[in-house]
Amino acid sequence: MCGIAGIFAYLDVAPPVDCGELARISARQAARGPDGSADWVSPDQRVAFAHRRLAIIDLSERGSQPMHSADGVLTITFNGEIYNYRELRAELERKGCTFRTESDTEVLLQLYADRGPAMVGALRGMFAFGLWDARARTLLLARDPLGIKPLYYADDGWTLRFASQAKALLAGGAVSREPDPAGIVGFHLLGSVPEPFTVWRGIRALPAGTTLEVDAVGPDSPARYYQVASSLERRAAEAGDPSGARTRLGTAVRDSVRYHLVADVPVAVFLSAGLDSGALLGTMAELGVRDISALTLSFAEFRGKPNDEAPLAAEVAARYGARHIVRTVDRAEFERDLPAILEAMDLPTIDGINTWFVAKAAREAGIKVALSGLGADECFGGYPSFAELPRAVRLLRPFHFVPGAGRLLRCAMSAAIGLGAGWHPKAAGLFEYGGQWAGAYLLRRAVYMPWELAALLDSDLVEEGMRRLAPVSRIAAELRAGRPLGAFDRVSTLETSLYMRNQLLRDADWAGMAHSVEIRVPYVDPFFLSALPPGDVLEAIDAKAAVADIPRPPLPDPVRGRAKTGFTTPVGQWLRAAAGAAEDVSFSAASRAWLRHVWQAGWTGVALA
């Protein structure tokens, strides 16, 4: 975990690296790594790396970065954790490698020396790194398969700059702040900015599951080494054995939790009253972890009411002998923190507030690392979309095949809404978008629909943004696999590679890192995903409920019952109030108002903040 940055003046005509700029980029990421800060400049001043360290594995000075290989050829600046580093290390030692540190960082260096860029496929963990090979004179940028750790880069045609945060690249002073219509339109459509776009034209996100090689003529196209759809396709191709499915599910979760506990500092857990985080805590206890801290967020508005999560979470914590910390947040604190939240928010998003407060509480409790149940809904089918999308596609497909019918109905319904018909504005898009997977997904996740944007943004910007973003074909591209996926796997693929990646994981990163807290996500792990039974089997055994029976002893009964009704937070109310929306609007309308507020307060200042 940490903050990384680097500059590579790759073209011969580019001026040498400006160390002042690198220092400014790195300083903007100080919160990501309070335990140390260092940088490195190559002797010819063509490459420089910076690193802010949050020490979690090998706390000694030897584990500090940027780290060099013993022969000095390779240098790395790395953010993240490699959970299988001990196995990889043992394998390399068998081949004759000798190690100087106990860190996972050194394993990356030696693995690269052994396998080259293909090494990323062997890594189990979350990572983003820049690796300089002085012999080949290439820079390798890499990002983990599912996009847990962020990596942004700016290439002006002479020099490439990269950092963990987009705003840090701007802080360096050499990257243009020119707005990117595709990212801006993406944010207004979906509530988060879809990669590879950011809201700045000069800055791109390195897509999850890709590597980028930069040589003397600049970056090559990002090379994909992992794709959710292909991985689920392979999983589906295996002979599914429904009888052993529950055992297989339990084994996969236990295995993933075990890997995610690798650390030289204590690992805590974020505990809601839901099944997914409870199963993590239960599994940790079952694996023999002692003195676990479990952290629950409670809202002053809900105290004593049935929607307060704290009492149920306390019951779960008690069952597994965890130290339960309940942190209460109220609207006044939210309003006090709001400027800091907008400042820490790296790209505009309509979520992340809960994570901000739970990470803040973790820091207050002295916790550096915590497991989170993020990602369980995507792999176990916990979202309503798992039922809604297949239904929509089945029912509305006929409209998709009649040219113009959907559009015509949309215009008619929009007009009716304008005249006061009490439908949600998105309903108008049902017939135009609902009959195909990508369109139905857009409809499900959209905050605003494409035809509504003209009222919010400049029309040229919308036109250009829509052209380059091409949301429906971009969504459809995620589903491309050798053979068509089943319905469950399709929804799982879309939620994992779009909503989870662009919204949940990005929010977990900025909101966690703002408080120097590492959030680990055992349900977000390609090794775990492929160890699970196929999607149709998960659906058949009702995996989202079956999670409760994974730990020994299983989760207490009240939690199972409660899980069906779901939980609410007052954050929606606060956002509504902060955004100045009317009191009686639905949450969906509140998120629309909040989106406008985030955009106006955080991004529409002088040339996009």
Partner: protein, 362 residues
């Protein structure tokens, strides 16, 4: 297969770039068949592996010949298209041949979005090379092409441009007096009025107050020369202040640069500005104009960029740089041909390593 506006046997910036490129690729072992709009290579020694057809100016004729060439001389791995104006043709040929498309952009032609078909052809290119960061930025403004595929391959400075003693013969022949001498080299074309000659003329009266012997030498010819001469007479104060010396052949340019004291061209729309580099390579300091791609050719150590419309800033920059004497020619070493050649061959290798029509396969 290369579709070029200016092939071997022509002059000018684009011609030189094309020749540098195909010389470099041929050195790396690549073979090329060039179909030029202009340029007769009869009697010229082309690099080994490079063939050039007779020039074909007419558009329809050129189109037919390119199809015939593709059919007769193929198969080709890469179609190189030397100008954005021919992008649609380049795309068509590349499609017919199942070849990769490499498109070259020079500058001014991409500062505005082209028609829809050209735009689509550009977006389908597997590789786009541009001469400057500004050209790249401008192209990415309107083209939906992955930024990684748009690579900068800057113009080069020929090895003949090196420092040397001023030419007294030239000074006497042109009757330039004691100086200091400001120099501008470039075509005097009505279509290229952005080069900023008039802005320099306007600064002369004040400058000559301080440097009485100062003259502005304007090298180059073109359809705008008469108008510029009239403007010079009008605003420069003294007829002797501006000397139009007409077209100067390339072999005479180094002496001209060495004899001058400062290179001044506050251009607002230069695609790249190779002349800035040639001047700097001969040891001159350089005043360039903000806007366009000049920033890539006027580095921090060789000179200054000014806002072309700010005459006070222009005069001040000229005064300041005149006071600093000669520049350091080492700063332009990375623009020498050997760097260009390595980069060009690497780009070709990268293109060959990528699957054909990556865009369709993605």
């Amino acid at each position: 297969m290369a579709l070029l506006t200016d092939g071997y046997g022509t002059r000018g910036g684009i011609a030189r770039y094309n020749q540098d490129l195909f010389d470099s690729l041929a050195e790396g072992g690549a073979r090329a068949f060039i179909l030029p709009r202009l340029g007769d290579a009869t009697g010229l020694a082309l690099p080994p592996g490079v063939e050039q057809a007779r020039p074909t100016l007419g558009r329809v004729h050129y189109f037919v010949r390119s199809i015939l060439t593709a059919w007769r001389h193929g198969p080709f791995d890469v179609v190189f298209c030397g100008h954005v104006y021919m992008a649609v043709l380049g795309w068509t040929i590349a499609r017919l041949l199942g070849a990769r498309l490499w498109l070259q952009a020079h500058g001014a032609e991409v500062f505005e979005a082209p028609d829809r078909w050209t735009r689509r052809a550009v977006e389908a290119a597997d590789l786009v090379t541009v001469v400057s960061r500004a050209t790249r930025r401008a192209l990415l403004e309107w083209a939906d092409v992955a930024p990684e595929r748009v690579r900068v391959l800057p113009d080069t400075v020929r090895d003949m441009f090196v420092p040397g003693p001023p030419s007294e013969a030239l000074r006497t022949r042109l009757d330039l007096g004691p100086g200091p001498i400001l120099l501008t080299v470039g075509r005097l074309a009505a279509s290229e009025r952005y080069k900023g000659h008039e802005q320099v003329f306007a600064a002369l009266p004040a400058l000559r107050g301080e440097f009485p012997g100062l003259v502005h030498v304007v090298a180059g010819d073109g359809d705008d020369r008469a108008r510029l001469e009239a403007r010079a007479a009008e605003i420069a104060g003294d007829r002797a202040a501006v000397r139009f010396i007409g077209f100067v052949p390339e072999e005479d340019l180094p002496d001209l640069y060495r004899t001058a004291d400062l290179y001044v061209m506050p251009s607002s729309k230069e695609g790249f500005g190779i002349v800035y580099l040639e001047a700097a390579a001969c040891g001159l300091r350089v005043v360039g104009g903000r806007g366009g791609g000049s920033a890539d050719a006027v580095g921090g150590q060789t000179g200054m960029l000014v806002d072309p419309d700010d005459s006070a800033a222009l005069a001040q920059a000229i005064k300041r740089l005149l006071g600093e004497g000669r520049g350091d020619p080492r700063t332009i070493e990375p623009y020498r041909r050997k760097h260009f050649a390595v980069a060009a061959r690497r780009l070709l290798a990268r293109l060959m390593a990528a699957p054909r029509h990556a865009k369709d396969a993605a």
